[in-house]
């Protein structure tokens, strides 16, 4: 654990700027260096978010057999700049009876609460994290839940009955899926033993395996909950254009709307970053230590940031892929999925992981198998322990959870649809293959 805290020492050149000598390095440590980090992270993330919109348009275009933005700059690369400029220059319209203060504050709350989370995410090794708070994961969950307020206030301040209903539906959906997100992470926390995000990455580095191998069910639940939390397809009914009840941002135009859009894409980025940190090993990839010892610490940190960015890119591509492939769920089906499928599965995951972990403790602590040894203040699974956890995670936890879900949902209308219709489709295609008349 001490090595984690040694991550956040400001580099020497910052100390030379402020002229402070250890041990009294208050300004360098707490003001100057974090400010530099914040500026860099904000600048990079805001640009990335703008280009995420561009990539969404391009990826959706390629999926749909067309080209996407091509005119503004080569291959349409300057499209985000053009869009941003246009939105800045638009007329600022506030509906007549809307509450001006709340109308202006709502998008700000949304954006700020999503951007604040960027401070605790471990972007890379060593000095590439702004703040390594030891409640990192709780901080992420807490601040993400504040963004729901921005939504609700936006819907209310638009002074339109349908915006309000849309906002309330959106926020009810977000709150429900937050529970699923929180539950799914607990399984990985049992292995990492710390809430600090850098600590979780270090734990995966020390254990040698990313935690999605130990927690496949948790990873799956987290991905689906993240889709529901960020209001992305297939859970984007509250903001779909073809819906009768208008979304919460109907009355917003110009830069305020751009803020909501930015909040949505930053939320996508943040939930992907948390998924990568907790389940996919964060910035670590095997071979990174060799790079550190052979190519020097700076390249080490830069490569770790690149690895993190690459993993996030894969997840965000998956987000976009899902949006343009699948239809969307109806609102009550969406809430049923969140409450009756994801939350019981998350709970089952926590209970079962706890059971496997306790069984694996050494005999001295009341366990049975002794697959987990205590080394240097941490519990580390042995070689057999890793195989044990992977096996229990895939082979026992998933079927048991599925059995639980089937029992809970056996009377649900949507549960057996797939099998019912599969039979009909199979019979129909058999008849067609045999050239039999399809008509009855």
């Amino acid at each position: 654990m001490p090595e984690i805290l040694a991550l956040l020492i400001a580099p020497d050149w910052v100390r030379s700027l402020t002229g402070e000598r250890p041990p009294n390095v208050f300004w360098a440590e707490y003001i100057v260096w974090p400010l530099i980090q914040i500026v860099i992270v904000l600048f990079v993330v805001l640009t990335v978010v703008a280009y995420l919109v561009y990539f969404e348009r391009k990826i959706s275009a390629f999926i749909q057999a067309r080209l996407g933005p091509m005119r503004v700059g080569p291959w349409g690369i300057l499209q985000p700049a053009a869009d941003g400029l246009k939105l800045l220059l638009k007329e600022d319209i506030i509906p007549i009876k809307a509450d001006k203060l709340v109308f202006s504050i709502a998008p700000i709350i949304s954006v700020v609460s999503t951007l604040v989370v960027l401070a605790v995410i471990p972007w890379g090794a060593a000095w590439a994290t702004i703040a390594n708070v030891n409640i990192g994961l709780l901080f992420v969950l807490a601040v993400s839940s504040v963004s729901v307020l921005g939504l609700v206030l936006a819907g209310w301040s638009s002074n339109s009955k349908y915006s309000l209903l849309g906002a309330l539906r959106s926020s009810a959906q977000m709150v429900s899926y937050e529970v699923g997100m929180g539950l799914s992470i607990i399984g990985a926390l049992i292995f990492a033993r710390t809430l600090s995000l850098s600590g979780i990455v270090e734990a995966q580095r020390a254990d040698g395996l990313p935690y999605f191998l130990f927690q496949p069910l948790g990873f799956l639940i987290y991905l689906i909950s993240a889709l529901g939390e960020t209001n992305r397809a297939p859970f984007d009914l509250p903001e779909a254009e073809s819906e009768l009840v208008a979304g919460y941002h109907t009355e917003y135009s110009g830069f305020r709307w751009a803020l909501f859009f930015m909040a949505e894409y930053t939320a996508m980025l943040v939930t992907s970053a948390v998924a990568v940190t907790v389940f996919l090993g964060g910035w670590y990839f095997p071979g990174l230590d060799w790079i550190k010892s052979n190519w020097g610490p700076n390249i080490y940190v830069l490569l770790s940031v690149a690895a993190f960015a690459g993993k996030i890119a894969v997840l965000i591509y998956a987000y976009m892929w899902f949006r343009w492939t699948w239809p969307r769920y109806r609102y009550d089906q969406l809430m049923e999925l969140g409450w009756k499928w994801l939350i019981p599965a998350g709970l089952a995951n926590v209970v079962l992981t706890g059971v496997w972990y306790v069984l694996a403790l050494p005999e001295a602590q009341g366990g049975v198998f002794g697959f987990v040894k205590q080394t240097a203040g941490r519990y580390v699974p042995t070689g057999y322990g890793k195989i044990y956890f992977i096996l229990t995670g895939f082979i026992i936890t998933i079927p048991l959870s599925w059995a639980l879900l089937a029992t809970i949902n056996r009377r649900s209308r949507d549960f057996n649809l797939h099998d019912q219709r599969q039979l009909q489709i199979k019979l129909r295609s058999e008849r067609i293959k045999r050239n039999e008349p399809v008509a009855e």
């Binding site: 090595e3 208050f26 440590e29 409640i135 504040v146 209310w156 309330l168 926020s171």
Partner: protein, 197 residues
């Protein structure tokens, strides 16, 4: 504990902010503004918790209070919305203000006197203040890991909750379960029962 330096400044800023926002909660004209100020108050309180080295409680305060309870407050306020004309006619300061101010004043004085014995009893010893002064100096950092203080608030809360207070925890969860079942039952009308079948 005694706060020094930056911590004292931040404490006073947060405390005054909390008080102001609390007053706004009571005196805002629109109910939604009142709720917004309550959110600001709760966030300030969470920051005060961080100052008290209880970051876990701070995180949970924001997660549960601001992200859960206040969202539901806002739901209710928005669904039972009053018309704008009625809101303009609402009188903020009625004649009941004077008794209220008097009672609040008396309450403040009684708080002050109630806290006196506790503050007299708490006299940090000399060595403790010295250690505090040195330990709380944010400039002190050791790179090799010896003597680093990691706040173990999460661990202590978890230990207390699940080891010493396990039975009250279970009872509280049972209470919550009863509340949830009751809420679902109250909210489902007979029409919805038929729809479910």
């Amino acid at each position: 504990m005694q706060l020094h330096g930056w911590e004292a400044v931040i404490f006073y800023v947060l405390a005054i902010g909390t008080l102001f926002m609390g007053v706004y909660v009571v005196t805002a004209r629109l109910a939604v503004h009142s709720a917004l100020c309550l959110i600001a108050t709760l966030v300030n309180v969470a920051l005060l918790f961080i100052l008290l080295r209880s970051e876990f409680v701070a995180g949970v305060q924001i997660l549960v209070y601001v992200g859960g309870v206040m969202v539901l407050f806002l739901f209710v306020i928005m669904l039972v919305q009053t018309r704008a004309e009625e809101e303009d006619k609402v009188k903020l300061y009625t004649r009941q203000m004077w008794p209220a101010v008097t009672v609040a004043f008396l309450l403040a004085i009684s708080f002050f006197f109630a806290m006196q014995p506790a503050q007299m009893a708490y006299r940090p010893s000399q060595s403790q203040t010295e250690a505090e002064k040195k330990g709380d100096d944010p400039g002190v950092r050791s790179e090799s890991g010896a003597g680093l203080k990691v706040s173990t608030d999460t661990e202590s809360v978890g230990e207390a909750l699940y080891r010493q207070a396990a039975l009250p925890f279970e009872i509280a969860s049972l209470l919550l379960l009863v509340a949830i079942v009751g809420a679902v039952l109250l909210a489902r009308g007979s029409k919805q029962e038929k729809l479910y079948e």
